[in-house]
């Protein structure tokens, strides 16, 4: 049963993949959904056995890459951390599978779509059940490929396949760090198995290794390199540029991959590596700073965007920042808690947005929406629930987890912790602001969509709304259901050995005893964010434009996403191709061939040309040559005779 959780989606994917060539879309849909639901069912059982029952399990499958003392095995690891991820992944994934049946009903390649979705789920499950870093990397790259395929699913659209390639390449930059991190770990521990790394991490806390000529603390090097990988996958500042573009994919994909599961893989990895990162304080500080900065960065960009999906994408980016700085202050349980609640409400928001887009005949621009709340009341309600949970209003899921994170950051009482706390608070204000901006622009005010789109407007079919209901339940109840278990007093009996916190990193403990104003601040900020959004977009429609005009440079900076894409285009993409052309023309053709084969053959050709010219065919030339020869010969002979004679 344990391994079937992982392999059922693969089987579904392969079957659907074959069916896609025979246009058996309905069969493919049913097969993949059946596999996923079964996998979800098993996940619940495993959660009960492993996490609640406290019995971790490992399943040996086969040898993989073994050479000398380097050994990576196919092995599945089920502990509490994995069990939580199993619920999240299979739960959200099965809902998204069902939703897709409705959302993609007009598409010709539904079987292919379902195959990709199931393949993604398989790779994600391999990632979360991995027992060593190389298998983690397998899942990591697998979800990357799935994401590539799904972003570019509508491959005839140029923007889609360009975004797909961008996602893959930017992730590869992160993987560059990840791969080096694996090598560093192997160099330090002589193994890449989690069990070895975790049990021996303490021994190496003072060890230095030589990296690029510097002698650096071993675990810090490994920690930061691996975190670069996490930054790519989880779209943290610097390597985030692919995530907004990834919205080119079908909306169910955005919900599953680019909100609920794949992008949280980086957070999962950091939590998974907690037994090692605890001994790498600098790495943790870096994680905190990057997380805090991303939280505020993405929020500032999110409030200026007009594409409904991009707003939510930046929101995801920002929320991932929260999870990272939680992990950075050693509040891993809080990070995992937020990961779980976020999966539900963000998937809900995305699928809700998909429902809006579906209703408006594929319109994504907020400026061409509005005035539709009474036409699609169910979707409207779902979006409210999602937004309330995201903004962290009391008793919704985000309230518990986000407050926990901010409290832990404050309670860490470190410089970076405080930085993250204040960034997080500001981002909380902006989160509420852009969420209600989205709600008002999308649903209220005068209808701005074309008359044609307004005429066709319709509530989504049941196959789409039922998954929304299920996710909404999660967005409402996941918080208070999970609170005691994930971050309550006895949380360590729940997490067992899957998360390790050094006794002197007390952020989690002390988070329960922070001053009242720290507990109240996020709610107040969220409420004022909502108020401001309602004021701006509900009552004073001219205000946003005037504010944007008054602070034009800042607005443009935010609107243009802090100019990251332009910077990368100038610094990396353009020059790479130019250097390539230069090396090819100057290096290969000019220098190497010029002096090498072409130069050589040219030389031979010229010399033989000279020789050929001597053979002119004129008799008097030959006679002259013979005469000269005879003269030389006679002279030489004569001189020699003289020499002997003398």
């Amino acid at each position: 049963m344990y391994s079937s959780i992982v392999f059922l989606p693969l089987i579904g994917s392969v079957i659907a993949g074959f069916l896609s060539f025979y246009n058996r879309d309905r069969v493919a849909e049913l097969t993949t959904i059946a596999c996923l639901l079964l996998s979800f069912l098993f996940s619940i059982i495993v959660f009960a056995e492993v996490a609640i029952g406290g019995k971790p399990v490992t399943v040996d499958l086969a040898r993989w890459i073994v050479s000398g003392d380097f050994a990576a095995h196919w092995r599945l690891r089920f502990d509490t951390l994995t069990a939580v991820m199993l619920i999240v992944v299979t739960g959200v994934s099965s809902m998204v599978h069902i939703y897709s049946v409705g959302y993609m009903s007009h598409d010709k390649a539904r079987a292919r779509f379902m195959s990709y979705l199931s393949f993604f789920t398989f790779a994600m499950l391999m990632l979360v059940t991995s027992d060593n870093l190389v298998q983690l990397f397998f899942g990591w790259e697998g979800v990357g490929v799935a994401s590539y395929l799904l972003i570019g699913f509508w491959y005839k659209k140029d923007s889609a396949h360009i975004a797909a390639m961008k996602a893959f390449v930017v992730n590869r930059v992160g993987d560059f760090g990840f791969a080096l991190g694996i090598l560093a770990i192997y160099h330090i521990f002589g193994s890449i198995d989690f069990d070895v790394i975790f049990s021996e991490a303490g021994l190496f806390s003072k060890t230095n290794i030589s990296f690029l000529g510097f002698s650096l603390p071993a675990l810090e090097v490994a920690g930061i390199l691996l975190f670069i990988g996490a930054m790519g996958k989880s779209a943290q500042l610097g390597l985030h540029t692919w995530l907004p573009d990834a919205m080119e994919g079908p909306t169910p994909v955005s919900a599953l991959i680019h909100a609920a599961t794949m992008v949280t893989a980086g957070v999962f990895m950091v939590c998974r590596l907690s037994p090692m990162l605890e001994f790498a304080p600098v790495s943790l500080a870096v994680i905190t700073i990057v997380g805090g900065t991303t939280a505020i960065f993405a929020a500032t960009v999110g409030m200026t965007q007009f594409d409904i999906k991009r707003v939510i994408a930046y929101s995801t980016c920002s929320q991932l920042g929260y999870m990272f700085f939680a992990a950075g202050v050693s509040a891993y349980p809080a990070a995992m808690f937020h990961l779980t609640t976020h999966a539900f409400f963000k998937a809900l928001l995305f699928l809700g947005a998909g429902s809006v887009i579906h209703a408006l005949s594929d319109e994504q621009d907020l400026r061409r929406m509005g005035g539709i709340w009474d036409k699609i009341p169910l979707t409207y309600m779902m979006m409210w629930i999602g937004s309330l949970a995201l903004a962290g209003f009391p008793f919704f899921a985000g309230f518990y987890s986000k407050d926990m994170i901010l409290e832990a950051a404050y309670a860490a009482h470190t410089g970076v912790g405080n930085y993250a706390f204040w960034m997080g608070c500001m981002a909380a204000f902006l989160t509420a602001f852009y969420s209600w901006r989205l709600l008002i622009l999308a649903f209220h005010g005068k209808p701005r969509a074309s008359a044609e789109a307004m005429a066709h407007i319709h509530e989504s079919p049941k196959v789409m709304t039922i998954p929304l209901f299920v996710l909404a339940l999660g967005a409402i109840f996941a918080g208070w259901l999970g609170y005691e278990m994930f971050v309550g007093k006895d949380m360590m009996t729940f997490w067992g050995e899957s998360i390790f916190i050094l006794p002197w990193n007390q952020a989690m403990e002390r988070a329960h005893h922070v001053p009242t104003w720290v507990k109240l601040l996020p709610i107040m900020l969220a409420a004022s964010g909502v108020a401001l959004a309602v004021l701006f977009y509900g009552f004073l429609p001219g205000m946003p434009g005037r504010v944007a005009a008054a602070f034009r440079p800042i607005y443009l900076f935010f609107f243009n996403k802090w100019y990251f894409d332009e910077l990368y285009e100038r610094v990396f993409v353009g020059p790479a191709v130019r250097i390539g052309v230069l090396l090819w023309h100057r290096g290969d053709k000019h220098i190497i061939d010029g002096f090498g084969p072409d130069g050589m053959s040219g030389l031979v050709y010229r010399v033989s040309g000279y020789c050929a010219r001597i053979q002119s065919g004129f008799v008097f030339h030959y006679v002259l040559a013979m005469l000269v020869g005879v003269v030389i010969l006679v002279t030489w002979y004569y001189l020699r005779m003289r020499g002997i004679g003398g």
Partner: protein, 501 residues
């Protein structure tokens, strides 16, 4: 019972007999062509089956040579007929016998003129390739090593593209220059030791000064074959002009001759020089990885792009070999086999669309996925294998090379790993421009979907690439003993290994 047969000689010379048989065919032009195709396919297929006996009879626990055959050739000179395989040469023999029938299938329709001569050239080529990998006598090795060039030279020069003569001569010029230096070195070794028997030469320890010169002489030859930067410029031209099947064999097998030579000769025979020159090799290989990846980005010709990517991938191989670590060498071996399969498939990918539109220009395509969905799947898979996706064979080699490289120097590992990013960039870009997007050119609409014959070529390669990616032990186990022996030979000669274990 298998041991009683001279099975290596059979595998080696079976294709040559096939070639002789083809000479005897008489009849009308088209009949001869059709018969030649079938005979060649049967012969190469049968050779592959016979070579499987090697795999079955091979004992991976024995690190030394197996299936040895020894006979007098030039009595009293120390030069003999000596064949045998170990874990290092055996995968290459199977790679050769596996790829040749597929290459024959790949040229089934696209070669229309002088079919019989073409098939003869391929059969001779196969004999030469296999002979080179199984030779245990230096002179025999040299003869096969050089003779391989002749059929390939003819294949490019006769059945190649528009600039085939230029490409063929460039190919010949480069490889000949290197070979001459190697021949001088072989003579020097013969004079020193009095035999050309490879096991004896391996056991002999040459003086440090002599090692240096011999190493450089061999390097000149192997570097051209690999090819290493800066002697790589023959490769793109040769590939562009060669017919599809020629490219498949060139990239699939002939590029591996250099890497095989390094492991078989340079490392165990000249261990001191190998260690001394390893920084030079690293530098050249790192330049190859980065430089040729960037050049690949700039290509507008599909075949040239893949040819440049081959140079980058072979950079991984040379790095792995000269880390002198078990993981590095195993990784290099694995990478060679994997690249042999993947690049052959990628060149075939180009051949498939070339047969339809008769151009290799990337800009002439676009949106092919819509008209050739099955082809899109195979091309996608091979592209991902080429960028080293875990679960495909490409990943295993790259990872092990990187593990070895980190032991040699973190700088080497750092720069080698940039290949992960660059490789993904040019391959994905290629795929995007050829396969994805809307159809811009009218002709693309009329492209015929993948035929059964083409499907039959892709399928076995795909299965093996996937199998080696998921269960690489089936290949690594064969090699591990022999690689360990190479490392023992190197370390017993007193070379301070860059890193123990």
């Amino acid at each position: 019972m298998i041991g009683a047969w001279p099975i290596l000689s059979i595998v080696t010379f079976l294709p040559l007999f096939g070639a002789l048989f083809l000479l005897l065919i008489r009849g009308e032009g088209e009949v001869v062509a059709q018969n030649a195709r079938h005979v060649t396919l049967w012969v190469t297929g049968f050779t592959f089956l016979v070579s499987l006996a090697l795999l079955i009879g091979f004992d991976p626990k024995m690190p030394g040579y197996q299936f040895e055959e020894k006979a007098e050739w030039l009595p009293g000179t120390g030069i003999g007929y000596h064949m045998g395989i170990d874990g290092i040469s055996m995968p290459f023999v199977l790679l050769s016998t596996f790829l040749t029938p597929l290459a024959i299938l790949a040229s089934w329709r696209s070669i229309k003129s002088r079919v019989r001569e073409y098939m003869i050239a391929f059969l001779v080529l196969e004999t030469m390739m296999i002979g080179m990998f199984v030779s245990l006598d230096m002179l025999m090795f040299y003869l096969f090593f050089e003779a391989v060039l002749i059929p390939m030279f003819i294949i490019i020069g006769v059945w190649g593209g528009a600039r085939r003569v230029y490409a063929a001569f460039k190919f010949f010029l480069y490889t000949l220059l290197g070979s001459v230096l190697m021949l001088v070195c072989i003579l020097a070794m013969y004079i020193e030791v009095g035999t050309t028997d490879i096991p004896i030469l391996t056991a002999y320890s040459f003086g440090v000064g002599m090692q240096t010169w011999l190493f450089l002489g061999f390097l000149a030859s192997f570097a051209v074959k690999v090819p290493m930067w800066p002697v790589h410029t023959w490769l793109p031209d040769a590939h562009v002009e060669a017919p599809t099947a020629g490219s498949m064999i060139l990239a699939g097998v002939l590029l591996k001759m250099g890497g095989y030579g390094f492991i078989r000769f340079s490392l165990p025979m000249f261990p001191h020089a190998s260690e001394f020159f390893s920084p030079l090799i690293f530098a050249m290989s790192i330049i190859a990885v980065i430089y040729t990846s960037l050049v690949a980005l700039a290509q507008s010709d599909m075949k040239k792009l893949i040819a440049y990517s081959s140079v980058a991938h072979m950079g991984f191989v040379t790095i792995g070999i000269f880390t002198l670590t078990e993981q590095g060498i195993a990784g290099a071996m694995f990478q060679m086999i994997s690249h042999g399969l993947v690049s052959a498939a990628l060149f075939f990918c180009v051949g498939v669309v070339y047969d339809r539109l008769h151009t290799r220009e990337i800009s002439a395509y676009g949106g092919v996925a819509a008209v050739m969905p099955r082809y899109a799947v195979f091309f996608m898979f091979m592209m991902l294998a080429s960028v080293g996706l875990p679960g495909t064979s490409g990943f295993v080699g790259e990872l092990l090379v990187l593990v070895g490289a980190w032991k040699a120097s973190t700088w080497v590992a750092f720069f080698t790993a940039t290949g992960l990013v660059l490789g993904a960039t040019y391959m994905l870009w290629l795929y995007r421009r050829v396969m994805l997007g809307g159809i811009i050119h009218e002709k693309v609409h009329d492209m015929e979907p993948l035929t059964q014959r083409e499907f039959a070529i892709f399928l076995p390669i795909t299965v093996i690439v996937l199998w080696f990616g998921v269960y690489p032990a089936s290949l690594l186990d064969l090699m591990v003993g022999s690689i360990q022996l190479v490392i023992d030979t190197v370390s017993s000669s007193g070379v301070s290994l860059l890193a123990q274990n």
